[in-house]
């Protein structure tokens, strides 16, 4: 038997199409992997096997850190139930910083003591108790300080 019927009987077209596709797929995959080589070796350059393992572990299986133990400072964070108490805390902090003070620095310190330091400071600025200066620093309004200072 010969001719196209022989090709059809032997599933020749299918074998040829699949065959060349598999060869192409195999070599194309190989080419793709080879293109990754420079990037991979650049990243691994100078690393020891142990450090590579640690990097990969941290990337795919990040170790969950145990929750930090509650610090006394956190326990002391004030719920802003009493605005005056919150203001008093800020005054103590600014007494430590000195006037005029930088707002970001005050915020950073206040985060450990107040539940909502941003809104507290914002409220004090809007009410005019904390005043901005042309050089970007802040200070307490004079009258308030005298009233509330011990």
């Amino acid at each position: 038997m010969g001719g196209f019927s022989a090709i059809n009987a032997a599933s020749g077209w299918l074998i040829a199409a699949l065959g060349i596709s598999i060869v192409f797929f195999g070599l194309a995959s190989l080419a793709f992997i080879i293109t990754l080589f420079p990037h991979v070796f650049d990243r691994l350059n100078g690393q020891t096997p142990k450090s590579i393992v640690i990097t990969l572990r941290d990337r795919f299986y990040p170790v969950k850190k145990p929750p930090a133990p509650a610090t006394p400072v956190a326990e002391e964070r004030l719920e802003e139930k009493d605005p005056d108490e919150a203001e008093e805390s800020l005054r103590l902090l600014t007494a430590h910083l000195g006037e005029p003070f930088k707002l970001p620095r005050l915020l950073m310190l206040a985060e450990h003591r107040l539940a909502r330091p941003h809104s507290t400071i914002c409220r004090l600025i809007l009410s005019g108790k904390i005043l901005g200066e042309p050089d970007g620093l802040f200070r307490w309004a004079k009258g308030d300080e005298e009233e509330s200072s011990p």
């Binding site: 010969g2 090709i7 020749g12 074998i15 040829a16 192409f24 195999g26 992997i33």
Partner: protein, 374 residues
């Protein structure tokens, strides 16, 4: 006088017929090509002499012929019949091959795949001409231009055709400088042949060590039937690149491959006994083999041109012809043609990438055909 006449009838002169003389002429032609023309002398000289050995007329039953059980030649031929020699040749090829050019330009690997179209086109043609599927697959693999792979697959699928297929495969491998240039010139313009390619990047040592391991895993998971060939190829290459097995690598690329080439060439040549070899099928195999080789060459060149349509960095389409896995002859032919057009254009190192990819591609193709048809 009668004694003398009996003696004469028992000699080769008395037993020879025209077929033996034809095959002896073929053997002498192979020796001429190998020795005088330097066409693949390491293959053609053993095969050519093997043809002479196999075509000395001898009494059947004396245990002399290669197809007679228990003969020395039959024992040596065992390695061909059982597909033992081709993987050992691949071990040596792996230990000799530098994959750097392929690693530096992975895009060129695709040319090695494109050239394998010849295998499957010839498989279809052989089916069309009436060969059974196992024979057609064995004939098709000639288009890979890879002698060991052709022997390996035909030993598995069509052992009775190992002789003609091996002779056809090695003949066309030797005739690469004759067959390929006209096709390459026909399918390319002068402007394309003048394209110069940039220097490849430097390839680091770790890349060269990792490559044979990864490539082996990928290719053999994809086509497990290619395991004996690709396993040995990449193992040989790992021996070479890892630098801690110099002695093994040295042995693989010298003693092992040389010994196996001698035995393989001689027994394949000897397997072409006139009464077995000179058949209509053998003629068909030779014609189809030549077509397969030409289609493979054209496939590589045309795919290189196609790649130039899509990629900004142009490649010289001549190197597509090196996608057939006649290592390193087809790469040398590319260099020769490119250098003829522009003496300052050196394409050899670029052509080695598709050339080596072709070896891998034809082994995968053999594995695929064996899986489908075996």
């Amino acid at each position: 006088m009668e004694l003398l006449a009996n003696f004469f009838h028992n000699t080769g002169f008395g037993m020879a017929d025209y077929r033996h003389l034809i095959m002896i002429a073929v053997g002498l032609f192979f020796l001429y090509l190998g020795i005088a023309k330097h066409y693949e002398p390491l293959l053609l000289v053993p095969i050519g002499f093997g043809i002479l050995v196999g075509n000395i007329p001898v009494f059947k039953g004396l245990g002399l012929g290669i197809y007679e059980e228990g003969s020395v030649l039959n024992y040596l031929y065992f390695g061909v019949r059982k597909g033992i020699y081709p993987p050992l040749i691949f071990l040596g090829i792996g230990a000799m091959t530098d994959f750097s050019t392929l690693l530096a330009r992975p895009r060129l690997v695709l040319l090695g795949a494109a050239a394998q179209v010849g295998i499957f086109a010839t498989f279809l043609s052989a089916l069309f001409l009436g060969f059974v599927p196992k024979e057609a697959a064995s004939i098709g693999i000639i288009g890979g231009a890879d002698g060991p792979t052709a022997i390996f697959l035909s030993a598995q699928l069509a052992p009775h055709l190992v002789g003609p297929i091996a002779i056809a495969a090695y003949s066309y491998m030797a005739l690469v400088p004759v067959i390929q240039p006209p096709i390459m010139k026909l399918l390319t313009t002068r402007g394309e042949r003048l394209i110069k390619m940039g220097d490849p990047r430097e390839v680091s040592k770790p890349e060269r060590i990792i490559f044979p391991i990864l490539a082996f895993l990928l290719c053999c998971f994809l086509a497990p039937a290619a395991l004996p060939l690709l396993g040995m190829l990449f193992f040989g290459n790992l021996l070479k690149e890892c630098l801690v097995t110099d002695r093994l690598s040295q042995t693989a690329r010298t003693a092992v491959i040389d010994t196996v080439t001698i035995v393989l060439g001689l027994t394949v040549g000897a397997s072409t006994q006139a009464d077995v070899f000179l058949t209509a099928k053998s003629v068909g195999i030779f014609v189809l083999g030549a077509c397969s080789f030409m289609v493979a060459t054209a496939g590589g060149v045309l795919f290189a041109k196609l790649m130039n349509v899509f990629f900004r960095e142009k490649i010289n389409p001549l190197i597509g012809a090196a996608g057939v896995s006649a290592v390193p002859d087809s790469a040398r032919v590319v260099q020769m043609i490119g250098n003829h057009e522009d003496p300052s254009n050196y394409l050899l190192m670029h052509a080695m990438a598709p050339n080596i990819a072709g070896v891998i591609g034809s082994a995968i193709a053999a594995g695929v055909l064996w899986s489908f048809i075996g």
